[in-house]
């Protein structure tokens, strides 16, 4: 099957600033894909190139097999993009906005579908309200509706939950999940790992214009899962058997790095054999956000 999005050897720089470097990426149809990275990593530049808003310096991008430069018309008609900024045309109402957007895609009579997306996005009673009069959350929904007027098989959402309250975030998540279940390929950019974990199957991490991780979200989380066991023990020196766990001593506590919960019982058994009393025990689970931030800020980190 043709990939939904295929990016080959893509490079882009703005003057001296290298925005994207040798990006290689293929996203299968039907996938829910996350593009992760801190601000300025190149996420928006990358999707702008896919959407045809920015021209690459070299490399090629195809959406559903259509080159975004040479057959831009076809490529754009199979793609829906929800931009990051809350942009709108203050001259028009919600319905007018959607009717015009349909027209740009060559669709003349789209009332049934427009009514349905208005309904599904909870915008039905705002249909004849001027865009200016809408709250930020409502404007965000209209942006999503605009990206859907032509029923695109591939949908890109650029940080859809930035600056959105908890309730709307939940609503957006379930809406986008539904779209994915209906067969749309979804690409989501975000800097929240939590969001990617809740929604996506695969993830690419961008850092300074390079893809540093390309994996399934499950694998990624497993890889960066480092549990640590903190023990305060009634002993001066650690028994030999415990040396195989790399440990550090901090404030009279030993911190053991473990990969698996089973290792805890191993450690406890050894302590029991050695008759060492446990004064205090604490298990530390990783905070995914923290690990993510650490990984992103670690200069030496170049992928797993």
């Amino acid at each position: 099957m043709i990939p939904a999005i295929e990016i080959q050897r893509l490079n882009k720089s703005f003057g001296n600033l290298v925005a994207l470097e040798d990006i290689q990426l293929s996203i299968a149809q039907g996938e829910f894909f996350a593009l992760l990275g801190p601000n300025g990593a190149g996420k928006t530049t990358l999707i702008s190139i896919v959407a045809g808003l920015v021209m690459a310096n070299s490399g090629q991008v195809k959406v559903m097999g259509h080159n975004v430069v040479t057959s831009y018309s076809k490529a754009r008609s199979v793609l829906g993009v929800v931009p990051q900024e809350l942009v709108f045309d203050p001259f028009f109402t919600v319905r007018e906005t959607l009717v015009f957007q349909s027209g740009y895609y060559g669709i003349r009579k789209n009332k049934v579908w427009i009514d349905e997306i208005l309904h599904r996005l909870d915008l039905a009673d705002k249909a004849d309200t001027n865009m200016r009069a809408l709250s930020g959350g409502m404007k965000r929904r209209v942006l999503i509706a605009q990206a859907l007027v032509h029923k695109p098989p591939v949908i890109i959402l650029d940080e859809p939950t930035a600056g959105v309250d908890v309730e709307l975030r939940q609503a957006l998540w379930s809406f986008v999940k539904q779209l994915n279940q209906d067969g749309h390929t979804i690409v989501l950019t975000t800097h929240y790992l939590e969001e990617a974990e809740a929604l996506c199957q695969h993830v690419a991490m961008l850092k300074k214009g390079k893809i540093i991780v390309l994996d399934s979200i499950r694998n990624l989380i497993d890889k960066i899962r480092d549990i640590s066991l903190q023990l305060r023990l009634a002993c001066e020196v650690l028994p030999m058997q415990l040396i195989k766990w790399s440990s550090i001593k901090q404030n009279e506590c030993y911190i053991f790095k473990i990969q698996d919960y089973l290792e805890i019982s191993e450690i406890l058994t050894i302590l029991k054999q050695e008759k060492i009393e446990i004064l205090e025990m604490k298990l530390q689970e990783p905070d995914l956000e923290e690990v993510f931030v650490r990984m992103m800020s670690d200069e030496s980190f170049i992928g797993t």
Partner: protein, 251 residues
């Protein structure tokens, strides 16, 4: 075709929804020019034999208003869309650059025509307005507003701020229209100013348009027509090339 028609329709609605500002206001301000200048100069100047100053001035003012509004339409629509960011909705769509060009151009022409027609209707209530060659009138209205519509697209593409667009408008468009022989015949100018006028493409639009009303003009209407067509082709090719390469839009 639907894409083009939709964008055209949107552009029409955009200025129609604020027609007080986009159609009525320019009609009123141009009528004020007519009121003042014809009052001061009516009895003192006769530019062509048998043609009163008002008769001379009216076609000039009408075409000036048409040109300025054709320019204002595409340029202000584009700069507003760029600054508010909603140009993205058009850029994301499969619309070709040719459709984009055509829609903005035609909307400018329509706005120019509406202002011109409004002017004509009001003015003919108070003055005797002769229309010798309607065909030439229509020809120069269309070509003139097309040129200015295209210039408006160029200005809209190139400007990043309202300030830059205002500079384009005040330092290029306004002097070129004021000095194009709207208020005077270039035959009355010193040779140096005359030469300068003849390299101003706006002069040919005004002169040719006025020929349609009065049947007399500073230069041959055929020369004006050729100059105006050439000018339209040059600015259009330039603009189409900008749009095709994505200059400023798809950087």
């Amino acid at each position: 075709m639907t894409g083009f028609l939709t964008l055209f329709h949107k552009e029409l609605l955009r200025f129609w929804k604020v027609s007080f500002q986009t159609i009525l206001a320019p009609i009123v301000s141009t009528l004020l020019y007519l009121l003042i200048f014809s009052h001061i100069l009516e009895s003192r100047i006769e530019i062509y034999p048998g043609v009163s100053y008002s008769q001379f001035l009216i076609p000039g003012l009408i075409i000036m208003a048409i040109l300025q509004n054709a320019f204002a339409n595409s340029s202000s629509s584009l700069i507003q869309s760029k600054i508010s960011g909603n140009i993205i909705f058009v850029l994301l769509s499969p619309l070709s650059y040719f459709e984009f060009f055509g829609a903005y151009l035609l909307a400018s022409v329509v706005r120019g025509l509406l202002v011109g027609l409004g002017m004509f209707i009001v003015v003919s209530q108070f003055h005797e307005v002769s229309t010798q060659f309607p065909f030439w009138i229509v020809l120069f209205v269309l070509l003139g507003s097309m040129i200015l519509g295209v210039l408006g697209i160029i200005a809209g593409i190139c400007s990043d701020k309202f300030d830059q667009l205002a500079a384009f408008q005040n330092f290029i468009i306004l002097p070129s229209t004021f000095l194009s022989g709207v208020f005077y015949s270039t035959l009355s100018l010193s040779p140096a100013w005359q030469k300068l006028s003849y390299v101003n493409p706006f002069f040919y639009i005004v002169d040719g348009f006025r020929y349609g009303f009065l049947g007399v003009s500073d230069v041959s209407p055929y020369l004006s027509l050729a100059a105006v067509i050439a000018c339209f082709l040059v600015v259009s090719l330039l603009t189409l090339n900008m749009l095709k390469t994505g200059y400023k839009f798809r950087h």
